[in-house]
Symmetry: C2
Subunit: 250 residues, 2 copies
């Protein structure tokens, strides 16, 4: 194969890598800022997260188009084909992460006037910190084609699920204690769920890194802790005093 | 181009179409049965929805692989290239629809022991009926390459969002009226959100049909009614009597 074709093909792959890296940076920043906006009730910051999502959507379309054109023009094989498919997959996950961060930002705008016990928000913040670390690590692993680091990220997703579950129960308890907490806590529940799903997408990216290196999609079960994701909590104490006994907790 | 190549290429495309059609059938059945399981509290039916999702995941991987191989081997142009890209996109949306139906089914298992006022469930059922109709219509439109029918589906998504918003407020009100409703209504809120998101994926498919026909991705804003998606409700009446005044409703 003449040198100039190889080099032009390498340029195409390089360009894809740079676009993915740009998407990764934006998705990280959006996740970080959405969570900060929630804690600080910063509606201006929330607005800027919402605006940033447009760029992420445009980049995803661009990566998808460039990848498909590259496959059609160069008919890459083996590792090069996997690299191109991986670009499509990772850009899809990053685009979804942006949507989830945007959704959190929209909720910040919705609840900016509500009384918010900061203690409840801290649990969400802690979960968000963990997820941001996962996202950073998985993007580094993708850039460095580091399957070991990717596997570490993959394994740590269980911890985020466990945190989500305890937060879910805590938020339900707050709601039962005082009906004035219900509206705010409901939005916080959805924020927590969105952060947990950002974690799922980092796990997807970790699996794509595995596929990129080996050509195999991971078939084992994820280290999920989602059994109590579907927990129920029954009201106790003051809030339920005037009511007949509720159903028992699962 | 020799006939046998053209015919083999057509066979490839036909096979993709059949796989998408199989995925569509499974996604429709899962959406239908998840909602039935919720209304009837049928844990057996919920289990079968959870099992069906594995087949959907496998089909998505198969479609993705076949599509990429087809692009690499045949270097299709224009409409044929778009058909292949559309297969990847639609199979991705159908896989997500399956995930969302599975998530509803898991919640049916979680709340099967809870007291459930049927009236609350009916609102979710009504929303689900609308979404199922959308899904059926968009799959028919995809099979028939019918851009007009696809546009109709696209326009109707706003009605589902509006229904979700009113259900969201209604569920919050139930939670404020009686803390024993909180646990059950929270799961129902997530079920309603999942159904709304199934609606979003049918809208994605409608946009893919547009892209397939014209090569253009729709750029206009979706007819979203999601402003009040982020509504808040404040407690009134008995539940809040012993508490100081809550924040006002947005």
């Amino acid at each position: 194969m003449p040198d100039h074709i190889v080099s032009s093909y390498d340029n195409d792959l390089d360009r894809l890598r740079r676009l993915i890296s740009e998407m990764g940076g934006i998705a990280e920043k959006m996740t970080d800022e959405a969570s900060l906006a929630l804690v600080r009730r910063d509606t201006g910051l929330a607005q800027s997260v919402i605006v940033a999502d447009k760029r992420l959507d445009a980049l995803q379309r661009e990566i998808e188009e460039k990848s498909v054109l590259l496959i059609a023009r160069r008919q890459p094989l083996a590792i090069d084909l996997r690299e191109t498919i991986s670009s499509i997959r990772v850009s899809g996950d990053l685009e979804r992460i942006g949507d989830l961060a945007k959704n959190i930002a929209k909720r910040v705008l919705a609840i900016s006037d509500e009384a918010q016990p900061q203690k409840i928000v801290q649990g969400v913040q802690h979960m968000s910190d963990l997820v941001q670390e996962q996202l950073k690590d998985v993007l580094d692993a993708y850039a460095g084609r580091d399957t070991k680091a990717a596997h570490d990220v993959w394994e740590r997703d269980g911890a985020i699920d466990a945190l989500y579950n305890s937060l879910f129960r805590e938020l339900l308890t707050y709601m039962m204690e005082d009906p004035r907490n219900i509206s705010f806590c409901t939005h916080l529940l959805f924020c927590a769920k969105n952060i947990e799903r950002i974690g799922d997408h980092t796990t997807n990216i970790a699996e794509t890194i595995q596929y990129l290196a080996t050509g195999e999609n991971p078939t084992g079960e994820r280290p999920k802790n989602d059994a109590s994701n579907y927990a129920t909590v029954s009201p106790q104490g003051a809030a339920a005093e005037s009511a007949p006994p509720g159903p028992s907790a699962a």
